[in-house]
């Protein structure tokens, strides 16, 4: 078992989730409550990482954030390190790839808030922030929880993009998923097997939990 890789994966998951969740809450709220031209396109764009091949994402990150690009050079000056072959690059990639996992459940949850509840909040004199904190967030909480669980477990398993822009640096960019691949390449099936088993169990439990949660919410709402 490659504990360092597991720890790195968990660190990546935690950081990604911590950054993505609050942003997703705000964006999901905006998408749920506002109608505007081209909204379907924005939503489609936000879903793109779900079906876009990881190699394509990897390619664009490599080209877009590599040092040959203007963006990559700017970021390097700002951050002091290059983005590719660096943990910060993985964070960036994870953020990008997990947008749909974070956004979708929260947006659905916001959309499920009846208009009447928001109207009532406004008419009770609650301003936008009070309404968000006291009324909306408690109501979308199950959606947020689902988003967190999905993001977390999905980051844990991210592979293709990391393979392309990570560089497989132990303790820095060698995540559990890469470690498994590595072990398989090096014929160490036993080690790969243990790590796979851990991720498999984690994935099934996660999903049983979220399915259960979703059902419960469905029942409560229904």
């Amino acid at each position: 078992m490659d504990w360092q890789a597991l720890l790195l994966s968990i660190k990546l998951s935690v950081i990604t989730t911590l950054i993505l969740t609050p942003i997703s809450i705000l964006v999901a709220r905006a998408l749920a409550f506002n109608q505007f031209r081209g909204k379907a396109w924005v939503e489609a764009l936000a879903m793109t990482p779900l079906i876009l091949p990881p190699t394509v994402i990897g390619y664009y990150l490599l080209v877009g954030f590599g040092q040959q690009s203007w963006l990559g050079q700017t970021l390097q000056t700002v951050l002091g390190t290059p983005i590719v072959f660096h943990f910060s690059g993985l964070v960036l990639a994870s953020l990008l790839v997990n947008i749909p996992f974070a956004l979708q459940p929260i947006q659905r949850a916001f959309e499920a808030i009846p208009d009447d509840v928001r109207d009532a909040a406004a008419c009770c004199g609650l301003n936008r922030w009070q309404s968000l904190w006291k009324v909306e967030i408690p109501l979308v909480w199950p959606g947020v929880l689902t988003a967190i669980v999905l993001c977390f477990s999905h980051v844990l398993g991210e592979f293709g993009v990391v393979l392309m822009i990570g560089g497989n640096i132990a303790g820095e960019t060698k995540t559990l998923s890469i470690a498994i691949y590595d072990k398989v390449q090096a014929f160490d099936f036993d080690a790969a097997g243990i790590m796979s088993l851990i991720l498999l169990i984690f994935a099934v439990c996660t999903l049983a939990f979220t399915t259960h949660l979703t059902k419960k919410i469905g029942v409560n709402r229904g």
Partner: protein, 234 residues
């Protein structure tokens, strides 16, 4: 008649591409090539991958295929590989064949990222590791190492100016798209054990595969290998 598949170590990529082209011109027959690290390919063959020729970057992996009775002996040595140290043209650091500057740059903290192939299953990675150990920087450089899945990915990593270079196969640095972007210097062969590259013709090989296997040993193919910086076996 299906087209036979050749499994080849990533280091012969550009040379073999050219040989394949010549072979198709000369014989009208076709082969297709899958590149990977020698270790990965050997393991895929053991799991039943339908390859008909295996060009390893060392002799051990080819021998393992023979030992597993998947190919008739002997493992045929087709080239002697050479390593090169390289970096992107934008990296304004000097290169030398004995890696004299590398040690210095490491100490000055000028090296943040340095690419080699994964020594666990890519022979070129293992030899690169030998080189780094030989010049006594292994401990120091290890945390900065980017491991390519195979030597071609290592070269791709090294080519990016997000790294300060890497140790890759000399043959890769001879590729067209490469020399415009990067500087490379062959590494003194004395710094590492010899990269004796062997190939085998697998049991299930078709006639075309056999023809390609023979073609690889033809003078024309050997000339191409020489052009790409390989040494030929005596």
């Amino acid at each position: 008649q299906s087209i036979p598949t050749v499994a080849a170590a990533a280091n012969v990529r550009f040379a073999l591409d050219k040989i394949q082209q010549q072979f198709e011109q000369d014989t009208g027959k076709q082969v297709r090539i899958s590149y990977g690290s020698s270790g990965q390919l050997m393991q895929q063959i053991k799991h039943g991958a339908p390859f008909e020729i295996f060009l390893s970057a060392n002799i051990d992996y080819a021998q393992k295929i023979v030992d597993a009775k998947l190919a008739p002996p002997p493992a045929k040595i087709y080239a002697i590989g050479r390593l090169a140290i390289m970096h992107n043209k934008h990296v304004k650091l000097p290169l030398s064949n004995n890696l004299a500057y590398l040690k210095q740059e490491l100490q000055q903290g000028k090296i943040q990222r340095f690419a080699i192939a994964n020594p666990d299953h890519a022979p070129y990675g293992a030899r690169a590791k030998d080189v780094l150990q030989a010049i006594g920087v292994w401990q120091q450089i290890q945390p900065k190492l980017l491991y390519g899945e195979n030597v071609a990915q290592a070269a791709q990593f090294a080519l990016s100016n997000a790294s300060q270079g890497g140790i890759v196969a000399l043959s890769l640095t001879k590729a067209k798209g490469f020399s415009e972007k990067a500087d490379a210097v062959a590494i003194d062969a004395k710094l590492h054990p010899k990269l004796t590259q062997a190939m085998v013709l697998l049991n299930n090989a078709s006639d075309t595969a056999k023809a390609f296997y023979a073609y690889l040993q033809s003078p024309k193919a050997q000339q191409t290998l020489l052009d790409f910086g390989f040494d030929l076996p005596k």
